[in-house]
Symmetry: C2
Subunit: 170 residues, 2 copies
């Protein structure tokens, strides 16, 4: 089965992201808006508890951080993903790096560009229309992130939270 590690932002920011995802993201029904820390990877259900222990240790030594977003960007031409760009603050970069060191067997081949996807699987024409309209949107949002989550995927593609990790709690 597939696992993943994500941050769910506040209700406000999720509602804002969903206002776009509803139209532009086919994953809208499968997971609520999120910032991915570790991409989907394969493991067995029995592995979950051990993963959780390793993630808790990372969480214990990471401080809460500020999630700040001010604009909408796109990964085009690599792929037609439109996203809220998240400022790469030191704590977030280091949290991502620690998780990737600990789970180095599941490392992604991409550089880390912190983001919350609001549109994907768009055709080139759709992408160019939608991103053309959204690229000038100014966003002024800042919030504190004090937790992240280990998820697993069901057969229908939807994601369930296995466990929450509070940052710097202990």
């Amino acid at each position: 089965m597939k696992f993943g590690v994500v941050v769910f932002p506040s209700k406000n920011l999720q509602d804002f992201a969903n206002s776009y995802r509803k139209r532009y993201d086919p994953h809208y029904d499968l997971i609520t808006p999120h910032l991915t820390l570790l991409n989907a990877f394969d493991a067995t259900e029995e592995d979950a508890s051990e993963f959780a222990e390793r993630l808790q240790q990372i969480a214990d030594r990471t401080n809460p951080f500020t999630l700040k977003t001010s604009k909408i960007s796109s990964f085009h031409p690599v792929n037609n993903v439109i996203y809220l760009k998240i400022e790469p603050v030191k704590e977030l970069i280091s949290l991502h790096a620690e998780i990737h060191t600990e789970f180095s067997e599941f490392k992604s081949e991409y550089a880390f560009v912190p983001h919350i996807t609001i549109g994907q699987k768009l055709s080139n024409d759709e992408h160019s229309d939608v991103f053309g309209a959204l690229r000038m949107t100014k966003i002024d949002h800042e919030e504190t992130i004090d937790r992240f989550h280990l998820l697993y995927q069901l057969d229908n593609g939807s994601w369930t939270v296995f466990e929450t990790f509070r940052l710097g709690k202990e």
Copy 2:
């Protein structure tokens, strides 16, 4: 905003429940299969951390329990909800009672019948067809539950996990 407290069972049981929910439950896209411990209630986002503290204290003094299901039942004629009947073991009843004592202001008017909904909002005819076909289904499933979750609802009706509570952890 709305909060709720639920148990998510194992992937296997969720996949099994979803095979029915896909056809019979309009909430299929809003939340993965779950056993409700505290029905949706209204509170502010600022209340979430305090709720989490109170739930953690309950979790600390509750032991993991066995979730066992052997049949499909219905709440008809009260309402046309079809569900996996969950055996009301002592630990589950007491966990539910503790949560309802602690959150007595949000108490439900129903007696606690532990269940995982697989169909709802069915017309009387649909209910009678579907439940007629499912009522004889024998299920033989048992698993250990060692956690529950505090969720909140987004504007589009979908639910996000705020925090996980491990039973008897500390």
